[in-house]
Subunit: 141 residues, 2 copies
DNA sequence: ACTCCAATGTTATATCATAACATCTCTTGC
DNA sequence: GCAAGAGATGTTATGATATAACATTGGAGT
């Protein structure tokens, strides 16, 4: 993984914005929140995000086209497969990994002679809090 | 799952296009291939894709922003979690599921009291054929 | 001060997806 | 046959996400 450079000003601002948010943010949502800090164009956000994605401080959730600050940078600096559970009601994200799942997938890859580069593992659903809040009728979505 | 209506003309054309393709196609790539059949606007493609996604005949690969014909419609008419392995060199897609992985994830969900609605499980890498063709130096990407 | 390099700023454009509304084409009941 | 309704289709416009290309700035090292 990348050689842990210090964050630039723009990278720090983007990371702060994501960390402060309860839910994943699109690049344009980040841009809007950083207007007062001088951000004017999407590229400023995307460039900072590229660097943060490289170092693993931020993840992109493909299923949402949005970005989220990493919940545990220390753990998956390595090659671990990480899964994200996303509540479609409150937007909160749970980040977890399971070595048994990894092993099981590794077995498939070995059988097929497939070499893994990147993984995207995202689950959408409803968290316990949201289900309780909305009752047995389900969400008003 | 949906009540298996017959395919409309547009749906059939889109599905044929995807089935004929060796690799996933973006909606606009599908549109280009169907100009001669009278397709003029993206919505014609997206509408057909929506219907095909509903019935499970087509999958969207979020990590590629592209669509692929289902490799085994019969198997996952139910709620099975399906994983896609995508060769980033030749574009071919392997579709598979593993009940142990499902069980393992279900255990996590039960512990967190999280109710799953949809899953996105996509692996990018290199298939055996492409690695052999390109030698130990890796792909020319 | 000069040079270099990385980061940043800025404009324009590419790519992916949907809203809104008009029209067509069946089917069904009469 | 024919009117009414429903679903599918056609068309234009627009929104949302992401990148290309090039100019400018601001230190670090000499
Ligand atoms: Zn993380
Ligand atoms: Zn929730
Ligand atoms: Zn399938
Ligand atoms: Zn391949």
């Amino acid at each position: 993984m990348s050689p842990k450079r210090a964050l630039t000003r723009n990278q720090a601002l983007v990371l702060q914005t994501l960390t402060a948010s309860e839910e994943p943010l699109s690049a344009y949502a980040i841009l809007d929140r950083l207007r007062d800090d001088g951000f004017r164009a999407p590229l400023q956000v995307y460039r900072a995000l590229d660097a943060l994605l490289q170092t693993g401080l931020v993840h992109r959730l493909d299923s949402l086209k949005a970005f989220v600050a990493c919940a545990h940078p220390h753990e998956h600096a390595d090659e671990a497969m990480v899964a994200f559970a996303i509540c479609e009601s409150c937007g909160r994200v749970w980040e977890f990994s399971d070595s048994k799942i990894e092993d099981r997938f590794a077995a498939w890859a070995a059988a097929e002679d497939f070499v893994t580069k990147t993984t995207t593992f995202e689950i959408s659903g409803l968290c316990a809090a949201c289900r309780k809040a909305q009752g047995p009728a389900g969400p008003g979505v």
